[in-house]
Amino acid sequence: MSTQAVQVTWLDARETLTAAELSRTCGMSPEQLAELVEYGALAPIDRTVAEPLFSGACVSSLRRAARLYRDFDLDLFAVAMLLGYLNRIDELEREVHMLRAHLPGHAGVASREGPQPWREPHG
């Protein structure tokens, strides 16, 4: 068995992709992506440039939507709607996570897996 050392790339706003790269990444054609842009479900970083670039942050939800598109033979407009909802779910999950971090650990969420109140050692 071989072991390879591998470097990673961030898949967020730090990374930008061309339409061709995004197409390869999510398995949809550039024409299908252009249609999603038309529906407002996907937005290039800058619309004025000849070759639009997309944020790496859109890859994950687009891959999920593209998978459902293929698996259920959805139409592209449904994918555009779906993408909006998937992004909204991501946003809400981030918000729930944030609120949990802000909630004091002693506030009656005993069954929750996670941090316990930190205390100074007595004495």
């Binding site: 068995m1 072991t3 390879q4 990673v8 698996d71 033979d73 991501d90 999950e93 316990q116 930190w118």
Partner: protein, 303 residues
Amino acid sequence: MKYKDYYAALGVARDADAEQIKKAYRKLARQHHPDVSKSPGTEAKFKEIGEAYATLKDPEKRAAYDELGRQPAGHEFRPPPGWAHQYASDAQGFEDIDLADLFDALGRRHRGGHHAPMPVHGRDYETAVRISLEDAHRGATVKLNLADAGGDRTLEVTIPPGVSEGQKLRLRGKGGKGRNGGADGDIYLHITLAPHPVFRADRHDLYFDLALAPWEAALGAEIEVPTLGGPVLLTVPAGTRSGRKLRLRGRGMANGRGGHGDLYAVVHIDVPAALTDRERELFEEMAAASRFDPRAVAAGEAS
């Protein structure tokens, strides 16, 4: 080549129209989708109905499939004369070909009109990696074991400092091997953070609960508190209320851009569960002497 009954796979009649086929496929796909069903054999079943649908939804492929006539599933058969010339990708016979590959090749002929094999991108893999908060802060190396057509391999993946909950990372070209000049697939890592005994992370900010005695909250105190870099002294200002967040700027997690989040001590005031005689005496003395009414503001607001 083995015959497969695509109509039976989708549970539709041989004269079903396109709409009925789509409806039957979607119903089965929902039932057997790997995201929904965890029962064994789900993936194989999902692949089977996907293969049936790929042929029956395409009028040309469906017509070609119907040309084969009705045969028992699994029955060895030879396609009609002329198919070898029309559909097969090279001079090889049909014995080792899967029916799905044959119809796939048929689709390509009609799309591309040439006989060169299409480049096929390698498979992408997605996997979740759970790391500790300290590893997310400092960076870490994780080992991924992969077993695919390329054999068994282990990848040593360097996770840079600054990842947070839900961060996605991409390993370019480390997925399945591409074919016919297609690019190799990628690996997508979904980072989750293991719960920490003290800290809760919100992106790169950290929160922890700081219990104060009533007199510490009222009088103020210098208290040793934990940080990822070791304990530091925190000045609790006099008159600190329960629920107040005391910030230690830049003591949170590395953010991967050269900076750090903040650390917040979330204050709550605790009281002794049982009082000694002396403590009771002092509290009673304070109760008698103090004019503090914690409900005065609330009562004023309510009126």
